[in-house]
Assembly symmetry: C2
Homo-oligomer: 224 residues x 2
DNA sequence: TCAAATAATATTGACAACAATATACAACAA
DNA sequence: TTGTTGTATATTGTTGTCAATATTATTTGA
């Protein structure tokens, strides 16, 4: 399958935004990008338009297009919704999970625990994602899974700001353990609540951090 | 504020899809649309690309672009998520609603009741939307409200298939009354559950209907 | 010095034309 | 009939160019 320049551009920019290569507020200059990637303005333009629809990029009319910088309040709102979606995944997973899926989830949990022992936050970050992905799958609602993943991506540029202390990781693993047990036992309500809290704690810790960094909401960053 | 052709096209197509002028599966021919709206292919192309991102349109490579025809299973999944989002709105509204908002909700409820008396389904449809919009606002989570509205739009092309019996309308109003009371009394859990059910009942009735119409999933419709 | 008017510039939108690719169709052969 | 090959066609992607509009910079006049 051959993908168009527009699609490749879109993916590349999305990556850069999610991974923090392009910080919120950074300007996306059409001509500069066209030069960088060796294409004309059209595919750039189209890629950016699509990113606008999905919410990762915003345009200020006649001022330029910028990596979306979501305000503090909206960030809280987004975490609130994220928690709800994750909770729903947990509830459905507790009801619908299949034996093989349960084993996959157990394995993912163990990998989280291992990376905890080694105190490698980056590794944990990946395993953590896998754990949650297992729950998405087990919810047997692929539309929900897609929506959840999409929202998580939109939040990622800001989760980099979270402080990943050793303590937080071990706490997180404990939460995972409780979530797993609830799903294993088919306790829908418990699984939902645990997952909601799990996400909201992240959100709270995050917002505590952000509210300390006063410069955040106002700083205007340019392209590196 | 001046809107571009691309934006106008996008809105126009969106409207046509949501209101059933363009049925799921209908082909969107670039050249035909360009001729119809008297513009070149570029704005058409860009408008369509954006609709693809938001899920209303799909492209089959080298076969053409079509109004998205979501399968029966995915439709169920979407209703499941819709119910969750509406339930969340209700829960938050019960906690956060302001006096003025409560009065607006009460007024919307009364308008639903009135349109029930007159047995005018079309009118009820509109007032029903207003009622739910009031709840969205009262949730004080504008991100959630946007997501809910967006998903509702994606479902709209299929809700046309629902049978709007007089009976259903009066039942619906009763549900609205219970929802309103729960929100008024600040009963978060009750409001959430009532709203979830309210949506799921629609979804169930709908799926009952769809599963009878065998031809639905397979029929390939062309542009009118 | 300040403010209004004007010029220069950047952003954005749109078009026509060209190019590449995959599909559908038809002619042909087995 | 069935299958294969080649040709025509439709779809899709990309480019260079032009045009419209708003912002920024500069000049001008008081």
């Amino acid at each position: 399958m051959k993908r168009s320049n527009t699609q490749k551009l879109k993916d590349a920019l999305e990556e850069d935004i999610i991974n923090g290569q392009l910080l919120p507020g950074a300007k996306l200059d059409h001509d500069a990008l066209a030069a960088k990637y060796g294409v004309s303005r059209t595919p750039i333009r189209e890629a950016i338009q699509q990113l606008v629809v999905s919410g990762l990029v915003t345009v200020k009319a006649k001022k330029g297009t910028f990596v979306a910088k979501v305000g503090f309040d909206q960030l809280i709102e987004m975490f609130e919704v994220m928690a709800e979606l994750e909770g729903m995944c947990g509830r459905l997973a507790a009801r619908r999970i299949q034996p093989a899926e349960l084993e996959a989830l157990r394995a993912a949990l163990h990998r989280c625990e291992d990376s905890d022992v080694m105190s490698d936050p980056d590794d944990y970050y990946y395993e953590n994602e896998e754990f949650h992905n297992c729950i998405y799958t087990a919810s047997h609602n692929s539309f929900l899974a897609t929506e959840a993943r999409q929202l998580k991506q939109r939040l990622k540029p800001y989760r980099r700001l979270q402080l990943q202390t050793r303590n937080r990781v071990s706490t997180s693993v404990n939460e995972h353990r409780r979530i797993f047990e609830a799903i294993e036992k088919g306790q829908e309500y418990e699984a939902e609540q645990q997952l909601k809290e799990h996400v909201l704690i992240q959100g709270t810790r995050f917002s505590d951090f952000v509210s300390q960094v006063k410069t955040f909401g106002n700083s205007s960053q340019e392209t590196s």
